[in-house]
Amino acid sequence: MSGIDWDLVRSSLGPLFQGLLRGTLPLTAVCFVLGLVLALLVALMRLSGNRLVSAPARAYVSVIRGTPLLLQLFIIFYGLPSLGLTIDPWPSAIIGLSLNVGAYASEAVRGAILSVPRGQWEAAMTVGMGRVTTLRRVVLPQAARIAVPPLSNTLISLVKDTSLVSTILVTDLLRQAQIIAGQTFEYFTLYGVAAVYYWVVCLVLSFGQTRLETTLSRHVAA
């Protein structure tokens, strides 16, 4: 039993940070942004009165939420080549995670849009705004405030979910830890350092969430 090897902790901090900086963080940022765009689109589709528009959106959310993310990544990276479609690790990871964020976040966005009172739509229409202008100027700014807590949860989940891409050959924080642990056999130390890194990132994000909620709530009664 070797316990914690503090020299190894010190020497692995740098390489693991590289995994965080070059893998986990950019993957999180890119997939969150793409996922949010997708989520807004899907939420608006689901709110459409036209079933031809809302049904595909509903099906997408159902499939993504009803299957494991790990399996989705495997299908994209290991499965699609059997159909003649080969996608590199990074694009596979971005596609898989963005689709996942899009499905979960669309529910938060849809709920937030629905929670803006009907009177806001009516008031906007009576001053002459059409549906798109009303969404952009009146509804979405108010929905954004309501969506911050659930979307923050999605973001924090995403940070940790990116670790799954270590299974499809993307060198992220976890993969970097696995590599060094494989060489040194110091699993506890390396995985412990990786866990601390994930936790610190999520702490920072939670702090940012609180700040953002305060900012967005400043004109709204308690």
């Binding site: 009177g119 009516e122 008031a123 229409m125 001053v127 002459g128 705004m129 059409g130 009146v138 709204v220």
Partner: protein, 251 residues
């Protein structure tokens, strides 16, 4: 006699099996104030919301100025928004945009919908705010205002698009009693300036003093209409008398 500025004919509207409008006619001359009164469920708010397409009647026509809509032809969204552009609306619950300042609320129609230059719209909005006694609140947010002040911003916002007609849907019903006066005073002064107004209200004193015409609705029809000195003082119809009696003596 010249044609009325606003004319609605034969409005019919159902919610499910409940027919709330059974052929309503309304004619509003330019520069006049019309008050719609009647018991709750009589259809008066539905009439008002049919004049700007917030409700979609199954039949009937609405004309405001030179824009006319025949509801029986199931008009598309563009036709409805053209009609809606002829009027402004003041809501019972004010429905101000909470994320915008008072000034931005008032300029929201001119800038976001009509595409007028922001600087010009702001100048006009400040004049309108002064008009409703809120010149010093331009940079406040709605949540920082009293109910009466919020409603006066709602009035300024409705006027900012330069509508032909201003529709008021029970503008004082959600206010604390001591705040009702400031809103009615603003409305009275607008009437004196010559704005054409259609007001759904329970404020009988306002109707008596300010209205040119009172329409009493019950059961989805206009039971009687005429100058307030007739409808409110010497009603011809028994239903009108009963309604007024209940208002005077609720117990």
């Amino acid at each position: 006699m010249t044609a009325p500025l606003l004319a609605a004919r034969g409005l019919v509207k159902s919610f499910g099996d409940n027919q709330v409008l059974r052929g309503v006619d309304v004619a509003v001359p330019a520069g006049s104030v019309s008050c719609l009164i009647g018991p709750s469920g009589s259809g008066k708010t539905t009439v008002l919301r049919s004049l700007n397409g917030l409700e979609t009647p199954e039949a009937g026509t609405v004309r405001i100025g030179d824009v006319e809509l025949d509801w029986s032809t199931r008009p598309d969204a563009r036709a409805v928004s053209r009609l809606r552009g002829q009027s402004g609306m003041v809501f019972q619950a004010h429905n101000l945009f909470p994320h915008l300042t008072v000034l931005d609320n008032v300029t929201s129609g001119p800038v976001f919908a009509q595409g007028r230059p922001r600087a010009q719209a702001q100048e006009e909005a400040r004049e309108l705010l002064a008009r409703v006694g809120l010149a010093d609140k331009a940079d406040s947010f709605p949540v920082q205002l009293s109910g009466g002040q919020q409603q006066r911003v709602g009035i300024a916002r409705a006027l900012a698009t330069r509508p032909e007609v201003v529709l008021f849907d029970e503008p004082t019903s959600a206010l604390d009693p001591e705040l009702v006066g400031e809103v009615l005073q603003v409305m009275q002064s607008l009437a004196a300036e010559g704005w054409t107004m259609v007001v759904v209200t329970h404020e009988m004193r306002f109707a008596r003093q300010v209205a040119d015409q009172v329409l009493f609705l019950d059961g989805g029809v206009v039971v009687e209409h005429g100058p307030p000195s007739e409808v409110l003082v010497e009603p011809r119809e028994a239903r009108t008398r009963q309604f007024l009696q209940r208002l005077l003596d609720p117990l």
